[in-house]
């Protein structure tokens, strides 16, 4: 058990908890959390009253609807096959292209809707820790829509993460092995008795549970045999165990021998003490700080093992620990692009983001929801920042604070984004037959461009925050109070004296007879255009 902090706490500590265990909040939200006292505040985050599903997903992402849609597509596919019989090769191909086009457009539209839905859920939820942990699992058990291609399966996986957000690590690992999106992403789907595919078996040990150096190549080899036989019914989004494709021979994993299947292997993994250690360290890094001290990780791993891999007690221990509120932990985390965007909007009392804009911003800042770069997830911390992403953060802050009238928007990239250009999304299966392309998505076509233009148009009308509410008029004549109030809103800590002086000088220079919304926006943009603001 880590040494615990006392129940009484400062408002800065409350803000720190809300930043890390959620996506931050405005001063009122911070004050409300502070009033609860440390331990009750942590409990309120761990036991949210908002039920899962309070923010309903788009209808197509609902399991029954998704199955229905996929069945419908299957039917259309068979009809197309039938219709093309007797046609010339070129005519048949043309007909097929026509029929796939509808599905492709729909998939792209759904992919964008799904991303937008999750982003808004993070912004508006009353259960921020659950959302923050959902993002953690998405990064930890990474799958990308770029390979999975079917938006409903990504949303089913997202729902799985949310249901297990504060649940049990071991149970979630069992579930993820049979998750349709993960099966497509790590090729479990194509792992057969005669040709076991080692992809999932390797990653489940290397990245998901134990870490490099805590298994042998032989363990992976044998485990891959155990993971054969799981098959996905794409038309139903369901997974079944095909005993005829399962290697039912003896396998030896971690020195134990038996006719193991996938679940058995996962159980063997969780008998390894290391399974608790990797996760304890990773959660500490996600919520608190990089390079956790070995002793702290050992202590957390012990608690985690004793709690049988339950996540909530582990998080409780972290959030109540003295170390979590240490000076070198507080305000020393580089915000991820998602954290940066959501927190910025929350600090400005915004309940919604300019449509489409946040998606392009995610791309240019280097973190697009549902698109982690590879199975290892995103690189966090300093890796988010380079000269280009830092300037983009400053300019995104300019657009959000000043509105589309004043600030330039972002230019959507056409090189590697599914939203702007389908070509790079269009992955051929190695199978040369055109029928193998039935699930190719995201092809470029005219209506996609119209869609992108529609989103750009929506961002053009962005007006910026309601400054009459965010910065009351009566505050604007008292410059010192103004700077300190805004300082708390955006930095949740006393401003370094040098910066405070500069902001104050700017306010003095700016303010005429009245401090207009315009000038307030300029002041705030300047405050956000700093290295400091990239930390939380």
């Amino acid at each position: 058990m880590l040494p615990q902090a006392p129940d009484s706490w400062t408002i800065f500590e409350a803000a720190h908890l809300l930043n890390r265990a959620g996506f931050g909040g405005n001063p009122d939200e911070i004050k409300a959390l502070h009033a609860l006292g440390r331990s009750k505040a942590v409990d309120s985050l761990l036991n949210p009253t908002e039920p899962i599903g309070a923010i309903p997903m788009p209808a197509w992402a609902n399991r029954e609807q998704a199955i229905e849609d996929m069945r419908e597509r299957g039917k259309q596919f068979i009809e197309t096959q039938r219709a093309t019989q007797g046609m010339s090769a070129a005519e048949a191909e043309k007909t097929r292209q026509q029929s796939f086009k509808t599905a492709q457009i729909e998939n792209r539209q759904h992919g964008i809707e799904g991303q937008g839905w999750w982003f808004r859920a993070m912004l508006t939820t009353k259960a921020p820790l659950r959302e923050k942990m959902t993002l953690f699992w998405h990064d930890h058990f990474a799958s990308s829509i770029q390979k999975v291609k079917l938006p409903p399966l990504m949303m089913l996986q997202n729902d799985l993460f949310r249901r297990h957000a504060l649940g049990n690590f071991r149970a979630l690992t069992h579930e993820i092995a049979k998750d349709p999106a993960m099966m497509l992403y790590l090729d479990t789907q194509t792992s057969k008795k005669d040709q076991p595919n080692e992809n999932f078996a390797r990653e489940v040990m290397e990245l998901f549970t134990l870490g490099e150096g805590h298994y042998t190549e032989q363990d992976i080899h044998e485990a891959a045999r155990a993971f054969t036989g799981y098959q996905l019914n794409r038309m139903q989004g369901s997974v079944f165990h095909n005993r005829f494709q399962w290697d039912d021979g003896d396998k030896t994993v971690f020195g134990k021998t038996g006719k193991f299947d996938g679940d058995d292997v996962i159980n063997l993994i969780f008998d390894q003490p290391q399974a608790a250690k990797l996760m304890a360290g990773k959660l500490w890094e996600y919520f608190a700080a990089e390079d956790p001290p070995t002793a702290a990780v050992e202590a957390l791993a012990n608690s985690f093992r004793e709690a049988k891999y339950e996540i909530a007690p582990l998080l409780r221990e972290i959030f109540l620990s003295k170390e979590f509120y240490a000076p070198d932990v507080m305000r020393n985390q580089v915000k991820s692009p998602i954290q940066f965007l959501v927190q910025l909007l929350k600090q400005l009392d915004l309940q919604e983001a300019p449509q489409g804009y946040t998606l392009v911003a995610q791309q240019q800042l280097g973190q697009v929801l549902f698109m982690p770069p590879n199975v290892a997830g995103w690189d966090w911390g300093k890796a988010w920042i380079n000269t280009s992403t830092l300037l983009t953060r400053y300019n995104v802050a300019g657009f959000i604070t000043k509105g589309a009238q004043e600030a330039p928007g972002l230019v959507a990239s056409n090189d590697d984004m599914m939203m702007q250009d389908g070509e790079m999304m269009d992955e051929s299966a190695p199978n040369p037959a055109p029928s193998g392309q039935q699930f190719q998505l995201f092809r470029k076509n005219a209506s996609d461009e119209q869609m992108a233009n529609g989103r750009a148009a929506a961002a053009r009308f962005w007006k910026g925050p309601d400054y009459d509410k965010v910065v009351p008029r009566e505050l604007r004549n008292r410059h010192e109070d103004l700077i300190d109030t805004l300082g708390f809103r955006f930095f949740q800590a006393p401003l370094p004296e040098a910066h405070r002086k500069r902001f104050l000088a700017f306010a003095e220079e700016k303010a005429g007879v009245i401090f207009t919304n315009h000038e307030i926006a300029e002041l705030i943009h300047l405050m956000l255009s700093t290295p400091d603001y990239q930390l939380c």
Binding site: N374, D379, K382, I385, N386, P432, E522, H525, L526
Partner: protein
């Protein structure tokens, strides 16, 4: 002559003349200056060093209709609709010729400035755009590396270089620039690579901005090695032991300095050569202006997209090749005009070639091995490598004859003059195209 130190210093001062350069910055530049007295460093960071321009042909370029094996019956058989006949090409040998959409490149071949490397690929090819692009950019066929081959070049061979050592004109940073210390910079246009105030009193606001984005000389000294000479970022990011804030301040300083330099050069240098309006031409035009302006950049990276020609390839593919031809022609004319033509080598790459057989939609699907171009006065032109067989195939695809890492090794050692082993993590057989 102005030294680089003077240049940086004047740019910094120029950006906000009323503020004195903090002690720290001054010291750092002094150190930088001392380091660059070392000849080896001078060589890689100076204004007269060799330059590599990488042109990505994104989407998988159809090598067989780029360098056309018109003399092979199997080619005509495999592509009844798409095959080019002898009259459609610029004949380079009795076996193959260049697609006639590239007349200028054809003339360069004849002048000996264009090397075409045939059958380029890697073992166990991957047909996914993303994975295969990543393999080319990281030079790691196992696709595990989180640094890129050019980023490793910056880290290994260009110590003390500022971030403009590598510039990509893309909206997102190419994976090949991924680095531990110096990932170069990436921008879509100079006008957007800056802090945009968009409000009243621009000059005053920018002064405040500059002041807020400068490491605080009085309060915190930079961490060991933390300076503009050890720039920021990379996928794994940062100097060991450096605090997050010190790191961010360093990147902010790098951003301001590189932004000011690039804006200044972009404003000052206009090309005398004429470029057409294609996106690739616009990018190469910018590269030309940056070279003319004397940036110490060693590697530029630009992209030319749209090569994923699954259907109705005829026409589309020619248009793309024609744009490549026209923009490279303008770019080389530009360099000649500047007197920099002997300093620049251009290399193209694409994540894969296309299948030998055309498909039923008049297009081609993802394949393996393809050809690539290396262009420039310093290049020893001609056909390099062996053209792959069109009958001895692997799952309908060409079998590669040249490992792409051998091309990287040649460029690194014979052009950028640096050992390739630490960068490519292995020894690869070099080719003869750099003499």
């Amino acid at each position: 002559m102005k030294t680089r130190r003077d240049f940086l210093r004047s740019t910094l001062l120029g950006a906000s003349a009323s503020w004195t350069v903090p002690m720290f910055v001054d010291q750092t530049f002094a150190q930088l200056h001392n380091t660059s007295k070392d000849l080896a460093v001078q060589g890689v960071t100076g204004k007269d060093g060799p330059i590599l321009v990488v042109v990505q042909l994104a989407g998988g370029n159809d090598g067989l209709n780029t360098l056309v094996p018109f003399g092979d019956d199997a080619y005509h058989k495999a592509r009844p609709r798409l095959a080019k006949s002898e009259k459609d090409i610029i004949k380079l040998s009795d076996y193959c010729g260049l697609n006639s959409a590239m007349p200028w490149l054809g003339s360069q071949f004849k002048e000996g400035d264009l090397s075409i490397i045939q059958g380029v690929g890697y073992p166990n090819p991957n047909r996914s755009h993303f994975v295969s692009t990543s393999i080319w950019e990281t030079a790691d066929p196992s696709n595990h590396s989180n640094t890129g081959w050019l980023g490793r070049y910056f880290d290994n061979a260009c110590p003390g270089a500022d971030p403009t050592v590598g510039i990509s004109f893309n909206k997102t940073q190419p994976e090949s620039f991924g680095a531990i210390n110096n990932p170069g910079i990436c921008l879509s246009s100079p006008e957007l690579y800056r802090w945009i105030h968009s409000g009243g009193d621009k000059v005053m606001a920018e002064e405040f901005f500059d002041d807020l984005n400068r490491p605080d000389g009085e309060n915190d000294a930079p961490a060991e090695g933390g300076s503009i000479a050890m720039p920021a970022g990379g996928k794994t990011g940062g100097v060991k032991g450096e605090s997050n804030l010190a790191f961010l301040e360093r990147v902010a300083l790098d951003a301001r300095v590189s932004s000011a330099k690039i804006l200044e050069i972009a404003a000052k240098h206009k090309s005398k050569a004429e470029y057409d309006g294609s996106p690739l031409s616009r990018s190469l035009n910018l590269v030309g202006r940056m070279i003319a302006g004397g940036l110490p950049t060693r590697v530029f990276y630009v992209s030319h997209g749209g090569f994923d020609t699954h259907n109705n390839q005829d026409g589309t593919h020619e248009r793309l090749l024609q744009q490549l031809d026209a923009s490279l022609k303008s770019f080389m004319a530009d360099l000649k005009e500047q007197g920099n033509a002997d300093r620049v080598v251009v290399m193209t790459f694409s994540e894969f070639g296309r299948r030998v057989n055309e498909n039923a939609s008049g297009g081609t699907d993802h394949g393996q091995g393809s050809c690539l171009f290396v262009l420039g006065q310093p290049v020893k032109g001609g056909l390099a490598g062996k053209h792959p067989s069109l009958t001895d195939l692997s799952q309908g695809d060409l079998k590669f004859t040249t490992d792409f890492r051998g091309i990287y090794a040649t460029v690194l050692e014979n052009w950028l003059k640096t050992p390739s082993k630490p960068i490519l993590k292995g020894n690869f057989e070099k080719l003869g195209f750099m003499g």
